[in-house]
Symmetry: C2
Subunit: 269 residues, 2 copies
């Protein structure tokens, strides 16, 4: 099990007000830590890189670098690999999660990031950078619509966290339907839906704490008694009986190993 | 307990294709049954009344009348009361559910509709006409957003069905957040979220069956172990641990008295 920390953000984290989530990143790495902004998911990499560099510098981080990878070959580039080898933290911006895995998967950069996480570093990601964290990632599915078998697309993710599937922009885009669809395909995966300006801070892959202004939805399929998942009826509504659902707000915690939530009130009682 | 039937529709029922839901209304009352279209929720009552009259006549219903109530006084009008006393079914159109209860609550029309339901008649309603069915109705709350205490507004409903709260346009408008908010305020009420072009057919208040192209979400708070509901923190995210969630599709059933779902497959096995 890794000693590292993950900060998994539902997108649109506040950048002008309290900046609660960005400050959590800064507090984790300390102001002299080396932070790499990974813009590989984005098609506007330069713009996004410049924006986050300015934000983190304003928050006092001295050592900020941008890692962009336009073509897969660049994930083998020695200067880039060195950047990761010497980093304390990586922050994945939003964009397209398939760009992250297809450009970086199984390259020296990929192995460097896993080594960083193993030695106790921080991996943070927002939006697509959040969805990419698990072994299997949700890449598309309906928003504001209930799920049909045909509509859920998944792919191999970056594998920083096991036995979960993560969705971002959760309440804002009405994504409960697709998270249910993803969970019931294999209830071994816990579904975690993260609102905008909201994040989970995962410690050693064992537990997480919620920060930010929205909610985190945890959908546990271990209690499932029936589902209609089948390739035979791709257009039918996915039925599912007896899912367990938790809604967590700022300060609430969740034990990933034992699969149960804890509130700050309860845990300090 | 009533002998009657309710058809509770999540809005935008199909009117040009299969018309599954409108046909369920027609099959219930038979073609020589007397159907009253209640347009009281709508601000475009005449237009809506004409549209549904044409639809039901095309489907073979011979005896269709429109009941509109612009001002509360009209809910005491003898000709209108007679219409309900002689009806086999009432169909509430969409609009504003508070218009239904404020114009009709505790009037002879209200009592006439309850008498109709008690003697085995059909009460159907779509959108606002669906939300109005329970003792307590959800009147407003966030869409595509997680719930805060301050955001959920409820009011006394038409009381055709006990111990439930109903929301319509469910997946389409991302209303899971507000249904959770409504349920955890008092978990005695089962939350039922109905997608567009989807309905529940309730028999004698005991059980229902799902029809139509979308899903029905049943949110059961009886397993709730913790919630953060409090008037003291109106702007905080509503946390809730250990809710039970079912997603039902066409043909699936739910036992309201024992609070469990049944699939057609299981029940015919």
């Amino acid at each position: 099990m890794s000693k590292g920390k993950l900060i998994i953000i539902g997108g649109h984290e506040d950048k002008v007000g309290d900046e609660t989530i960005l400050k959590e990143v800064v507090n984790t790495i300390k102001k002299d830590g080396r932070l790499v902004i990974a813009t590989v998911a984005s098609t506007k990499a330069q713009e996004v890189g410049t924006e986050y560099t300015a934000l983190f510098k304003e928050l006092g981080v001295k050592n900020v670098a941008v890692l962009n990878i336009e073509i897969r070959e660049e994930a083998f580039d020695e200067a880039r690999v060195k950047l990761i080898d010497e980093a304390d933290a990586v922050f994945f911006t939003g964009g397209d999660q398939l760009r992250i895995t297809s450009q970086v998967g199984d390259t020296p950069i990929y192995r460097g990031m896993h080594a960083l996480y193993k030695r106790g570093g921080l991996i943070a990601g927002t939006s697509a950078g959040a969805a990419v964290m698990p072994h299997t990632m949700l890449i598309s599915g309906p928003s504001d619509e209930s799920s049909r078998m045909s509509a859920i697309e998944m792919a191999p993710g970056f594998a920083f966290i096991e036995n979960v599937v993560i969705d971002s922009h959760f309440a804002e885009r009405g994504r409960m339907g697709r998270l249910i669809g993803a969970v019931i395909q294999n209830p071994a995966n816990l579904g975690i839906g993260i609102d905008e300006d909201t994040a989970i801070v995962v410690e050693q892959g064992k537990r997480f704490r919620v920060i930010g202004s929205g909610a985190v939805y945890v959908l546990d399929g271990s209690t499932l008694t029936y589902s209609s998942v089948s390739e035979e009826q791709p257009e039918g509504i996915l039925s599912a009986f007896d899912l367990r659902l938790h809604v967590l707000g700022d300060g609430d915690q969740y034990n990933l190993l034992e699969r149960h939530p804890l509130t700050t009130e309860v845990s300090t009682a």
